[in-house]
Structure formats: C-alpha cells, structure tokens
Symmetry: D2
C-alpha cells in the first residue's frame, strides 16, 4: 500500500499517518519527493482496509499494491491448472475444448437433434440451459429439472459430458445429479454465496465473467471458489458491457492472453453471447483460438429460427460443422508452428 | 416491433418476412420508404422473440417497441405506489425517508453507538449489513445471523425499522425474522430466483440498481418482484460503473426524475456507495433530494476510521447530524415552494 | 512513481530496476514487503515516462503518483480563480452564472426572440452556436460567420456577453471578433493545438469535458490552456458516455464538488446536453446548483419545435422563465444557509 | 422514423402527431397495437430532426431507422474500395498491409534504425509521429516539421511510403509535403473541420476510431471525408474506452467483421494502442488478421526502453521480425484455406 500525501501536507500530518500505520501493526516508510511525500506501507499479508488512513488530514490518495486474489495467481502458482471433465482435458497444452449446444433445452426432439449435430461436427462437451436468467419475467424461463434430464439424456446418447448453468444454491443438488460441469453465469459472477458452495464441491466449474467485472474482480471471484478447496475451475470471457451496442456485448479478447499471464487457470471464450450476432460468431471463434483461448463455448440450435431464446446468435448444424472444420485446420496449423 | 429491411432487399424477401410474422400469429404492416422498407408488427401482447425474423435474408435490424416491463410502468399504472415500513411511508408526497447506519454490523457496541447517532440526528430507518458481498474472499464477510440480531436489538432500542441485505434464498427466513425491509444488493439485481422469492413475500423490498444495469433492465428486475405479487418495492440508485474511477461509481442522478416518469415506484439514492468518498456524500445527498429522490440511504459509523468495511465513505455521527439539519432545511424549502 | 515487482522477482532484477532509475537521474528506494518488493522513485519534477522501467524483467506494474497537471491544481494554487466576463463574475462566492440561448443560431428572428426571452428571464450570458459539430455531414452545420454576427447583434441588443463554440484555429479571428467567451466543445477537449492557441489569448474560455474524458484528462486539458498563460478558464461538465442510453449522456454531477476540491477553476454544468431530455433539464439544473456548480449552461429556443438542432432538449421561453425563478429562490435559500 | 405513442395517448394526440408529420412534408402511417399505437414516417430522404415530434403530448419515444451515413455504406455501395498507397494496395483480396515504426520521430539515428528494422522484417508502410497529441502539456510533444523530414528521409532510404498524424488544418500543407498517408487520430475523429479538409484532398487517409465512438459515429465521421470527394480512406480500430483498465483500451475486434459487413472501406487494427502492453501486441495482431483486418499498425522502436513516448507498448526489432514471420505464415494458411 502506498499513501500519497497532499503537496501541502505538514510534517505533523505525515507523522499522524505513520502512527496510524503502526497502530495497524504495519511499518511505514516515507518516500519524500520534490512535489509531495509518499509513504510506503510494509508488512501486510494481503489487501489492507484503508479507511483508517484515507480520511486522515493531508492524505490525498491511497494506492493498493496487493491484489484481492492469490490462489488463482500465476505469480504464486506458476504451474498451469488442467481441468479434467470426463475424458476431456482443458488447459495449457491440451487441445482446445469446444462446448456447444442450444441456449436453452426446449424439448426432447430439439435437444436430441442439436446434440447429434454438435457431436457429429466434433464438439467435446454438450451445453444447454435448464434454468434461464432472463431480463424480464414475461419470457421463457427454462424447463427446470425436466430440462436437466433431457440434457443428460442427450449427453448420454451422444457420449458427451454436459455443462449447464446453476442459478442458485437450492438447484445445486439437481444440477450435480445431471451435469458434469457447473456453469456460473455472468449475472452470478459476484453471487458470492453460490461461489462458496460450488467451491466446496468436487465438480468442474465454468465461471463466466460478469458483464461489468474488471479482470481483477473476475480473478477475485475465482479466488472464492479456490479458497473453498475446488480448483477445477475454467474461466470464460463472454463480452463486457460498453457504450457500443452494435454488438450485444464487447468481446474483450485481449483478456485471454492477459489472464494466461496472470493466472494458472484455463480460460475459454463464448463468442455467441459476446457478439449476439450469428454472422460474427465463427470468425470471432477463430480469432479467440489464435488469441490463446483454451476452448470455446458456442450456441448451436438445430433450427435457430424456432429457438425460444437467443436464436439470433445461434449457429445451425451446418454452420457449426463448417466452423469445426475451420477450427481444426487452424488448430493444426497453430500446433505445427509451435514445434 | 419494427423490422427494418436492407436497402437492397427484394420484394420476395419482404414477402418472406411478412409470412414469418403471420406464422407467429401477428400482423405485418409494410411501411415503404425512399431508402428502404420497414415492416411494422402488430398484435403482440408484449415483448416478442425476434430470432425467427432477425436471421431472414434482407433483414437489417429489428427494433423492439414493447418494454420488458409493464406492472412497474406508470404508463399502465399512473397512481404512485406508497410503501409503508412500520410507521414510515415512502413515496410521492411523503417526507423523504432517510435510511442510515453502518455498512456492516461489527459489534454490539458499534451497532448501538451508530444507531444512537443516527436516531438522534433524525434518521427514519436503521441500516446495517450482516451478510456482506465482498470482492475477494480474504476480507471481512459480515457477522451473519449474529449481526442480524444486533441490528434488530439496535432497531428496537432506538425505535427504528431496520433494513439489511439478503444475499441468497437460504437466508430469507433469518432475514425476515429480524428485518423490516429486505435489501437486494446491486450484485444481485439480476439474481432472478432471489427476486421471485422476495416477490412472494409480504415484506417491503429495497432493490438496488446493478452496477451496469440500464434503466430498462432495472425496471425489468423490479417487474420480477411485482409479477409474484409483492408491490411493496422501493428502488435505489447507487451509482453505475463507467470509465471514470475518481469516484467509486458514477452517480446517475438523472435517473431519479426519469424513473419517476416511467414508474410508479418510489426511488431513493445511496450517495455513499455512488461516490465512495466521504467528503462528497453530504452534497450529493442534497442534490439527490432536489432531483426528486423519495429518500436517501447513507452510511454512518460512530467511528469511521475503525470501520471494517467502507469506512472511507462513511460519515461520523457529527457529520451526519449536520447533514440531517441541512436536509431538513432544504426539504422545508422545497415543500414551501410547492404550495 | 512506484514500481511494483513480481512476487518471484530476483534480487538481481531489483538491482537492475534500481540501476535504470539512477540512469534517469532519479533515486530509488526499495520497500520490501511480505509478498513482493516495491521500489519508490524519488526526485522527479512531475510525470515521468515509464517505458524504460515497465519492460524490465521482474516488473509487474508501475504506478504514477504525479498527476499530468499542476497549474490547475488547488493543491498548488489554493486561491480560487474568478473569471470576469464583461460585468459578470464566475467562480467561488460569485452568484451562479446562467448562460442560455439556442443550440444554434438559425436566423435573426430566432436569435432576437430567444435572446429577449432569456434576458427577460434573467440570464447573464447569451449562448448560440455558429459553427456546429454534427455527427454526420448531411445535417445543418451552422451559419458560420453570419451566425456570429447575429449572435453579437442579439447580445448587444439585450446587453449580454455572448459565448459561442470555436471548432478550429482558423476560426479564432472571427470568433474573437464577435464573441466574449470562446467555447471549446466536448469533441475538441483534446484538440491540443486549439487548446494551446486559446491559451495564448486574453479571452475567457469555456472548456467542456470530453464525453469519455476522465477528470484527470479534463484537468490536463485545462493545463494546456493555463500553461500558455491564459487562466481565464471556466470548466463545464456536460455528461459522459456510458452504457446507459435512456438519457443522451450520463450527467456526472459528483465531479462538481470533486473538481472544486482538486482545482481552483470555476466549474459549471450543462444539463441540456447531459440529459438530452427537455423534461429533465430544469430539475437537473437545480440539482447542479445544490451540488455547487458555479453556473449553468441551458439551451433555450423561442420555439423548440422549430429548432434545426437539439430541439428535443431545449426549453421554451416560458419554461426557462419558470426555471430562473426557481433557481433564484433556491440560490437565495442556499446563500441564507451559508451565513 | 417510428414514433411510439404512450399507452394512454388519446386519438386527438395521435392526430396531432400525424399533422406535425405532414407539416414536415412527410407521410404518417399509424400502426395500432394492442398496447399502444406507433406511427411510421414515410418519405424522408435520410435522417430527420425529431424535435418537432418528440415534444408533442402523448409521444413516448422516437426511433430513427435511417443512419447518418450513406456514402460509406456497403448497403448502397456493394463494391469494396481498394486504397492505393504507392505500390501498396489496401482492401479486400489484397495482402494485409503492415504499417510499422516508432510512436514518435525522435532523432535521425532512431528513425533510421527503426525504419531499417521494420523494412528488413517486411513492413509495407513506415509510421512515425511528428505532431503528438499528449494528455498533458509537460511531456514530449513531437519534433514537428523536423520530424516530418526525418520520417520522409527514412521512408525514402528504405523505400516505404510513410504515414503520420495530422492534428490540425494548419499542418496539412507540411504533412502533405512529406507524407503519403494522412492519419487522423482518435482524439480528432470528430474534428469535423479537419475531416472536411482532408476530404478535399487527393491523399489516402487513415481514420482512427475515437475512443468512445460508436460504430455509427465512426462511419458518420468517414462519411464527412467521402462527402467532400475523397474516398481513399482506410479505417482503423484502436481500442475503445471502457471500465476495464488492465489494458490501456479495450480492443473491440468484433467491429472488424462488422464493419466489413456495413461498409465497403478497408479496416485495419492497431493492437499497440489498443492493449498498451508490449507482450499482448503480437498475439492480438494475429487475432486481428484472423478476424479479417485488412492490415495492422504496429509500434516498433529500435530501442523501446529509450523511447520518449509509448515505449511500454512498442516491440523491438527482433520481436517485430518474429511477429512478421508468424503473420506471413498465418496469412499463407488463411489464403490456402480460402481457395
């Protein structure tokens, strides 16, 4: 922590700050400058509450150096984490994983047709939402447990692990019963109680970045899960909210290489929610791969024009099949260059 | 819903769109223009899924006219809603309500001293957090049920209703047992399951705007609560996330008069979380009153420099007492002008 | 400047950083911590380029303590600046100034009628745009020098100083010939050449905040003007761009008291451009006054429904007259409380 | 244009709106709905001022369908524009162009060494800033005309066209004298007078997206240039301002395929300014290529640690050389897949 004093701060005010730091059990190291004095704080074991300091006379600013996460940090844990989902491995050096399927489970027919399409195209993991977070209450809210069952049935039929969103603690038993990966959606990234609960389980978790979460907050949310013991965690960039509305969100692809520097956890990209525009999904999926994503999550519906949810951003089977071919070619190229 | 066609769209493509609209059970009214054709959609009873349309050839854009909320809308329900909390009334024509108290309940001594301070200054409702949403897991997380009990004790001692945050459904029984108003925090504004549950209760609810929620999403979240039957709802603007970081959030004060136009629900302002800066809280509290806020939520700690949470934005007893005097004077002035 | 090292940084890497700092002619003060070492940099006379340091091995982050402005800072110049415009004084302890008039000068009739309306209501300074920055080229671009002449004529007729926007250096001669205050619009806040030129003049300048400018950048832009010798500068908050589009911009009213803390320059508020909604202008104008604004800039058109530009946010004469009455009453109340 | 009425609007109010539309010389087509009436406006030749309408009683919202650009639109001009810069072609089907060089021209030695490095690595166009827009006035502002001469000298010596930023109209003569491509920087994207002036020239222009410009505003700014007759225009995405500050800006890579859909103009990407982080530049450059960028602009300095400006985001010669090899391989792969 660095305490920056006002230009006009008196020696007495500097002394008061030093005393306050000492009272917190920490050490204070003044750094006199030509324009103002700064005071370095030493000895803290992590993030320190700064209220005691911030309100003292003569203090201009308090700058935190410690981050609110440590377990997820590559700085402290250089070894990459590989997350195992059935026979699929996610992380450094593993093949990029592709999770695909419809936004929401709608019916047996739709789920089976969509699962078949994504399996035949080569997807690794089947996605499908049973509990749907919708902006307003007057739209389709998902099939609930019946949806979970259909998703499981489709996964079993086509031999794919399944991933689905869990929206609240009370759903965890059901979701764990039917799913292989628990997805925490963007709106729940800071639902800390839910994070803690999935942190206590021995299940792979997919944590989506909140739509206005900084990277620091995203990693701090991940820290909640690891702090409870579960490190089978996959991060997912899905676009952030900005002033630009020509796309549904703004895909922040630079976070992929950045998070690979900052954390040992795998990170995948969801170009469907990020762009919200079907014609942009394949090209941004390929860009994500080149940016170093450990995988992709893509919405595929066997008949997007009939989808009850997010059809405008869903690929159909043929489009997805073509994309998978392109992704495989691109991945082979990237691997060949690495050697 | 308005469907805007490409400049180059053919008559055949326009016909295809009309057919698709008819298939949805709705009517299509072409509006030919000099540059392009648009197609008005008639007959819908609210928000319509647009995926079927959006992906058709020749379609450039789909514009929604219906809003994802109706019950909260003043357009449909012109009468203002008054929310009763014990003997306190919140809403149009009622005195602005002041909710005050510490960010979090820390100890009996702190809670009693803070309650006494805010009561003596004239606050109406006592606030205090027992369950605290914190960015990282390594900081103080609140006292839980013990905190609820201390809050209740302080409220009873100083004869004030109490408001506290509920973070998950599993806490509802406890919180309802001790609190008078259930607060849904900004991070849970789109925790739709939680919204539905509080919607089933006969308790006043305080719903804070999410940090990146549009007004439309904010009102749609409120719609979840009213749709379940509970209209004892107070909205709260607490700042939004923008590029500007000199303040903790950006207080979006213009939403106060705007929400008063759009909705019949009362709206209060939390200048403490919005600015995050103690010295800005009193002046922005007064500005909020002038902007038409039905009340304020203000963090007060009997000794901010010892606060375990958000001390940098908390007023002490003397500062709050002075602010209340100023607010009362200002309110009397505003009322005198109305007559 | 504070240099934060990686947790895993070696002693050798720390030494390399110290050497680099010394090469820059500055001093390096290591601050060892439990998790990582930080290095304070001493002796700089202002903002330091950090590239030399940032790319050295083992460096995690470089944090700047110095700000890119000094002349505009209250920390260095505690005395408030009063800007004189004809007989009108803008700044601390002066009456709040009201600048009002149409968005753009359209015709003699319109300009005279609007000037009369704002004068009779009690405005201090007449506004009107002759050169208009418009998003697209196919809309009305202003009357140019003819507009300046009409503005001057109206100002003379109704005995008000006039303020108008200057968009480029080549217009300065004309604008100085006819106007009393030179306005730099939001889109030109970082048109540094223009800032330097108006900095060389002995004319009052009104500098609007850029739509995505941080307070730091806003004050640094002001620094350009003062650095050239002109300190007759009035700042203007006019809303920032955020994800929220229910209002044209997001009025960031908290910057008013914040800038009053950080700078000695006067700051006014433009609620017309900030909200873009006529019905929100009067209430936000009053809120701005309470927030401590040294003045207001308000669009008034004698017949807004005929305005060629921004009519949707313009008050008509009667509305403005009523607002002025309310502002005067409020100001009298605020002054009476101060004594 | 679509006019949405309040639910409670009366027949009389609807008639008033129709009358107002007719007065504007346009036609009004009511679209009655179950919840409210909308009124389609027909006959306009482009964007229409809506003030007359927006303020009428009973009007809830006015939605514009026409865009503020037409000349740049692929909808109206389906043929791709190819921009010729000396022997280099930029646009669809041409090889991606690479513009590289230092942020600013600092000295003959630096410029020659950097030019040699980028030439040997295979860059097409040499960049270098002579006039530098800097946040504050107390930092290096560029060498001015001397810088232009050094840039030209280096371009001639190593046989590359040169691109450099022009900040104001008064610099156009000098810049045209020495440069092959005129760059309009992000801060000047809405400096409409400058846009008009370069629109009158027969010079290639590189227009960078403003840091808070929507795609619509970006294309409308381009429209200013084409409207004056100059269609030798290259667009450049360079990151937008968002709440995230871990990177300097947020690279909005999805706009590349989106702009390729909306416009016939070529679009390149500047990953250096977008990320501001040297270690992220190469990977995002490759991602941009995959996303369909017609080229890249990359900061390269022969000795970044000595750079007077933006050294933290500059590659050195060896890094750039490696990147060019990777880009070439990737481009060959992409082309092979297309056939």
């Amino acid at each position: 922590m660095l305490i920056v004093m006002e230009h006009s701060a008196t020696d007495y005010e500097v002394e008061q700050v030093k005393t306050a730091v000492h009272t917190m059990g920490l050490e204070a190291e003044p750094i006199p400058g030509s324009e103002r004095t700064a005071i370095g704080v030493l000895g803290n074991q992590g993030y320190v509450e700064d209220a005691t300091i911030r309100n003292l006379p003569g203090v201009r600013e308090v700058i935190h150096v410690s981050k609110p996460y440590k377990l997820v940090s590559r700085d402290f844990h250089p070894q990459p984490t590989l997350v195992q989902v059935g026979s699929v491995t996610v992380g450094d050096d593993a093949e990029p994983v592709v999770m695909a399927g419809p936004c929401s489970v709608e019916s047996e027919e739709q789920m089976m047709a969509s699962a078949q399409a994504v399996k035949e195209a080569g997807a690794d993991i089947l996605r499908g939402g049973a509990f749907k977070p919708r902006t307003g209450p007057h739209t389709f809210q998902g099939l609930g447990v019946d949806g979970l069952k259909l998703l499981r049935q489709a996964g079993d039929e086509y031999d794919m692990p399944v991933v689905t969103e869990v929206m609240r603690i009370g759903q965890l038993d059901d979701v764990c019963c039917y799913a292989d990966v628990l997805q925490i959606g963007a709106r729940n990234m800071q639902n800390f109680d839910l994070l803690k609960e999935v942190g206590k389980l021995d299940y792979p978790v997919l944590l989506k970045r909140g739509m206005s979460a900084t990277i620091e907050e995203f990693l701090a949310a991940a820290e909640y899960i690891l702090a409870e013991g579960n490190s089978r965690l996959i991060l997912c960039e899905r676009g952030i909210r900005t002033f630009e509305r020509a796309t549904r969100n703004t895909l922040d692809l630079s976070v992929v290489p950045l998070i690979r520097q900052l954390s040992h956890l795998p990170i995948i990209v969801d170009p469907s929610h990020a762009t919200g525009v079907r014609s942009l999904v394949p090209i941004m999926a390929k860009a994500a791969l080149v940016a170093g994503a450990h995988g992709l999550m893509i919405e595929v519906h066997h008949a997007p024009e009939q989808a009850l949810c997010d059809g405008a951003q869903s690929l159909d089977g043929a489009e997805f099949n073509q994309l998978m071919g392109e992704l495989n070619g691109l991945q082979n190229y990237l691997v060949s260059k690495k050697d």
